[in-house]
Amino acid sequence: MSSGEIPPISCAVEGVVDETVLKRLAIETGIKIGTVYGKNGKSYLEKRIEGFNNAAKHSPWIVLIDLDRDAECAPPLREKWLPSPAIHMYFRIAVRAVGAWLLADIEKIADFLCVPQSSIPSHPEELEDPKSQLIDIAARSRKQIIRQEMVPRPNSGVKVGPGYTSLLIEYIQERWRPSIAAQQAPSLNSCIKRLRMIPYNSGF
């Protein structure tokens, strides 16, 4: 590949919030995100991972998924999904979910949700279910509007409130500091390190 400007990198994610996180990380690491695939949940990605891997033989690809409770830690899940990753495949797993990365910037998330910093867990990657933790924290917000947007109404049958997605997008784009969050979230830290390598490994 010839050196010069870095071409946009294709990626696949579970949902819109993950896409926003990846685009924020791209700014942080000096890469450019191109076409975004997926956004239909995790099982959608799992069924198509071989296709993404095939494309990654030819140009860089990022696939970002949540570990959830699918395995104890990231390596066995990586082995299950992608036993032989292609040369340009950057397969990243958030422990246990991208929500933990967002909680890891303790000062900003506390400020954004209007809760005391002491209510934010200091080791978010140890949480079993960071997303529901995020909702529980928002439920204790001093601001009614945060509770209305983030927390589902009783009997609504869903896990998040009506404004959850747009509020998190706002937080990620305008407040969240990946480099600070990386200090509390090892899987984010290694993801940032790997993304920084893309231009060198790809020979741009």
């Binding site: 949902g15 819109v16 956004k39 239909n40 949940g41 995790k42 601001k143 009614q144 509007i145 209305q148 947007e149 589902p152 109404r153 009997n155 609504s156 049958g157 869903v158 896990k159 998040v160 409130g161 009506p162 404004g163 959850y164 997605t165 747009s166």
Partner: protein, 387 residues
């Protein structure tokens, strides 16, 4: 961040009997309601119940006109209804704190001359009857039952709030061809199909018009590639209003196009964004996903929610799009499934269908869980159609 407007009034409950496709509907409504169902299951007809209430109180409207515009009592009555049974539309209006602040019910049929006649009209405020017809005067003069009290300014003072609320209902189903060629709907006002869309923009006061066009421009820049700028102008000779859009282009100053050259998707999105900016009563939308890219459609529910946080405005829409329903913040009591049945279409909340509840709780996107419930049973035979 925006202020909460949770207290704004909305339709909190709808009750129908023998209205078009439905023998009976009895359903709660949230701030957003998503109507899904197969073709001809009655999505538009359910929306039409709200439009009917608006027609009763609108200028140039009234009960007789509202029924007349729909072809009379007979075509309105559900085919599955028993002979000569009454048609009923009932609505509760309120907010989360007080869901039944107001109740309105109208029950009607036709008289011996096949003219629409009111059988019952009832208004309740906080559970207390303010009006119950037929009253003594109606019995003395049955002719009075050709008009509702709601539409008459001289008798509706005690419950004019409801009349004003019904009058604030807005229905939108932009037909791009009508926007491009407004000559087809000359003289129409508040045309839901967009015939006077440009006139409506023209009528907005200058400052608001500028601010709103800037907001629309910002959204269109995201959705429409190469889109750069939007401006409103009047034809200097004929005075007709026009929108023009600038696209980035190989020419250094870009290229301007007038609305007659806009794509269907651009026009529909324009209409949708404009309607959202208006701070009015409940907004009824037919398939807002039409002509739009699926990735844009996916963000509509969040867009609507943000609008509601600002204006408190209720939104009731019909859709066939599983993309639109894939937004994870859509609650299961916001989704109404219309399921056709020989005894009339049934309306059920997604929350009350156990299977959907279990699927969504297991992580399946809502769209994927509900759309199969609305597919026609033998849809696969469509591919055998030969003509």
């Amino acid at each position: 961040m925006r202020e909460s407007t949770a207290s704004a009034f909305r339709f909190t409950h709808l009750y129908l009997e023998n209205w078009r496709n439905f023998t009976k509907v009895d359903v709660d409504l949230q701030k957003r309601a998503f109507l899904i169902g197969p073709n001809a299951s009655g999505k538009s007809n359910l929306l039409d119940a709200f439009r009917f209430l608006r027609d009763i109180v609108s200028i140039g409207g009234g009960f007789q006109a509202a029924v007349g515009r729909r072809g009379g009592v007979k075509p309105l009555r559900c085919l599955a209804a028993r002979r000569n049974s009454d048609i009923v539309i009932g609505a509760r209006i309120g907010n989360n704190e007080c869901p039944s602040a107001w109740e309105y019910e109208i029950r009607f049929s036709q008289d011996k001359q096949s003219l629409p006649a009111i059988v019952k009209e009832c208004v309740r405020k906080n559970g207390r009857d303010l009006l119950l017809r037929p009253n003594r005067e109606d019995k003395a003069d049955p002719q009075r039952l050709t008009q509702t009290y709601l539409e008459q300014i001289n008798v509706n003072k005690a419950f004019r709030d409801i009349a004003e609320f019904f009058n604030s209902v807005r229905y939108l189903h932009i037909v791009p061809q009508l926007v491009r060629d407004p000559g087809r709907s000359v003289g129409r006002q508040d045309d839901p199909y967009g015939g006077d869309f440009l006139e409506q923009i023209a009528k907005t006061n200058n400052k608001t018009q500028k601010t709103w066009l800037k907001k629309v421009e910002k959204a269109l820049k995201i959705a429409v590639p190469q889109f750069e700028q939007i401006e409103f102008e009047r034809d200097p000779v004929r005075g007709t209003p026009h929108l023009k859009v600038k696209y980035t282009h190989w020419r250094p100053h870009g290229a301007w196009q007038k609305e007659d050259q806009f794509s269907d998707g651009t026009l529909r999105l324009l209409g949708l964004l404009w309607a959202i900016l208006e701070k009015s009563g409940p907004l009824l939308l037919e398939e807002p996903e039409l002509s739009l890219h699926t990735k844009i459609v996916r963000h509509l529910p969040q867009m609507f929610w943000r609008m509601q946080m600002r204006s408190g405005r209720q939104i009731i829409l019909s859709t066939h799009s599983s993309e639109l329903l894939s937004e994870e913040g859509i609650a299961l009591d916001e989704v109404l499934l219309l399921i056709p049945h020989p005894e009339g279409t049934k309306v059920r909340l997604a929350r009350d269908i156990q299977e959907i509840l279990h699927l969504v709780q297991g992580g399946i996107p809502l769209g994927e869980a509900v759309i199969p419930h609305t597919a026609p049973e033998n849809h696969f035979q469509m591919s055998l159609f030969e003509g």
